[in-house]
């Protein structure tokens, strides 16, 4: 009997370890919102998703992949580009967001137009200024490629690509983008300590920023108007485009601040290149409109030294292990 129990326990342990290598909930995180029961991670599916993430066939002209605008080295965003680029050198209307900890994200896109990670890839695939294709065309191309027939067979036991399988595989790879090994995380786990300046910055951050940029994800996942003046050329009303409700005018998803050092420029339209510009916006650049987040009614009051302290704290959110992890890089 005892032997049987031991065998059984080691089986469970093995199963657990096996699963852990693909997706582990970090100790300081809550349970994810993504429903893994509908799309359990496997090595072959994650690999297929990774290959698809780097696949330019996802675009009409076979030139743009997901990675074109979401490079692992910048926490999966497009650094130095204010607005995203697409096929035929077209330029989009929004700044490609950084991708990480997506299993905890309730909605996707700056305006929350996408309700499930699985469906996210449909938007850039179909956007005429991004990939300019359709999922129908993409699946047809994959089915016509011997390499993908093998990969789909390995992943799903059936060599035929479908929209469902293609999207679920891309989700699987993106679900592995877990960033939870920054200095901040190590301090929270009591493995490291903040410098005096970082600690000061952390206190200021908690007092002034954390109602929206809530720990440990550094976003509350909600939509807020953070007082940016409206860009008359883009005329982007944000969340209102989705809900068609005036109370959502000029509201955009609160982005995570993790890896912010790597993911410049900032804001939905990439208008700020430096963190100091972002802080100056919150202290002296708030544009008053009806839907402004109430916390920002009078701006945030910070001395210039305090701004430097906050920036020092924000740099502790950089997760080098995440950004340079070879498991996210171009599949050989």
């Amino acid at each position: 009997m005892r032997k049987y129990v031991v065998v059984l326990m080691s089986f469970f342990l093995f199963a657990f370890v096996e699963k852990e290598s693909l997706f582990t909930v970090p100790a300081n995180f809550s349970q994810p919102v993504y429903d893994f029961s509908k799309n359990p991670l496997t090595e072959h599916k994650v690999l297929l998703g990774r290959i698809l993430f780097y696949e330019p066939m996802l675009s009409k002209s076979n030139t743009i992949s997901c990675e074109s605008c979401h490079s692992p080295f910048s926490a999966f965003t497009h650094i130095d580009h204010t607005l995203s680029h697409g096929i035929h050198d077209s330029i989009g209307t929004r700044n490609a967001p950084a991708l990480m900890n997506l299993a905890w994200q309730k909605s996707f896109m700056w305006d929350g137009a996408v309700n499930n990670l699985d469906m996210q890839a449909l938007a850039p695939i179909a956007h005429p200024g991004e990939m300019g294709s359709t999922i129908i065309e993409v699946v047809a191309k994959l089915n016509a490629t011997e390499k993908y027939r093998k990969l789909f067979y390995n992943a799903f036991g059936d060599s035929t690509a479908t929209g469902e399988k293609t999207l679920k595989a891309i989700s699987q790879f993106m679900l592995t983008f877990i960033s939870a090994n920054s200095k901040y995380d190590k301090v929270m786990r009591k493995e490291l300590v903040f410098t005096e300046q970082e600690a000061k910055g952390y206190l200021l951050f908690k007092k002034n920023c954390s109602s929206c940029h809530t720990e440990p994800l550094f976003t509350n996942g909600n939509f807020e108007n953070n007082g940016l003046s409206r860009d008359s050329a883009l005329n982007d009303l944000g969340r209102m485009k989705v809900t068609k409700q005036a109370i959502d005018s000029l509201k955009f998803k609160v982005p995570s601040l993790r890896n912010i050092e790597y993911s410049y420029p900032y804001m939905h339209d990439g208008r700020f290149k430096k963190l100091s510009e972002v802080l100056n916006h919150y202290t002296s650049g708030i544009h008053q409109t009806n839907t402004l987040a109430p916390q920002l009614n009078n701006g945030i009051v910070l001395t210039s030294n305090e701004k430097v302290d906050i920036i020092n704290f924000l740099l502790t959110l950089s997760d080098k292990e995440f950004v340079f992890n070879p498991k996210y890089h171009y599949p050989k």
Partner: protein
């Protein structure tokens, strides 16, 4: 047990692409795409459900004859005098991620730029739709308050055996008025209004 959907103009089954159908206001109509979701099919006897189809999602597409028949898997003879179904996809399914079969996004019934199924898609040309082209496009859907376009339909049945459900598009165009409205591409008030008008155009024959 089989339910067959017939998409008709007055009493004539619609054929895509070539045929022109004459509406009573004088417009000539041609159809390029006409497909819609039927879900949650139930049979009722005196308002009590006697058969509830499991995993009940059907894309009825008039370019594919086999899609127009719904085979209900039940063996014993049951008595029923009503059929109940939904026109469109419920909100839980709309937020549940990627799905296969008739719900696969390659069926062309899922919005790319904003999550959600298109419950009903009809595209074509109309001689009275002058600008910018002679086109009409109805992409009706939306699952979120206040633009939930899902419709529940109940129809009395006359036979215990196989029966037809007819969707009369002529009736829809009469209710809508083609000169006013011919492009709906996103969840909105009009999509909800048109969906409820469309729900009135089904009948058992």
């Amino acid at each position: 047990m089989k339910i067959s959907f017939v998409v008709a103009f007055k009493s004539i089954p619609i054929v895509l692409h070539d045929s022109t159908y004459l509406h009573e206001d004088g417009s000539g109509l041609k159809f390029e795409t006409l497909k819609f979701y039927i879900s949650n099919v139930q049979l009722l006897q005196n308002d009590v459900a006697v058969f509830i189809e499991q995993n009940s999602f059907h894309l009825i597409d008039i370019s594919d004859a086999s899609s127009q028949n719904i085979i209900l898997k039940q063996n014993k003879q049951i008595n029923f005098n009503k059929v109940r179904f939904k026109l469109g996809i419920d909100s839980i399914t709309n937020v549940s991620g990627a799905m296969g079969g008739d719900l696969d996004p390659t069926k062309g019934m899922y919005w790319a730029w904003q999550s959600g199924y298109i419950n009903f898609k009809m595209e074509g040309a109309c001689s009275s739709c002058l600008l910018p082209k002679y086109d009409f496009e109805f992409h009706l859907g939306g699952y979120q308050y206040p633009f939930n376009a899902l419709q529940q339909i109940e129809l009395k049945t006359i036979s215990k055996n196989n029966f037809n459900i007819v969707l009369d598009i002529n009736q829809f165009f009469t209710a809508v008025g083609l000169s006013k409205q011919k492009q709906i591409m996103s969840p909105c008030d009009d999509a909800v209004k048109l969906s409820s008008q469309l729900a009135n155009c089904f009948s058992v024959k």
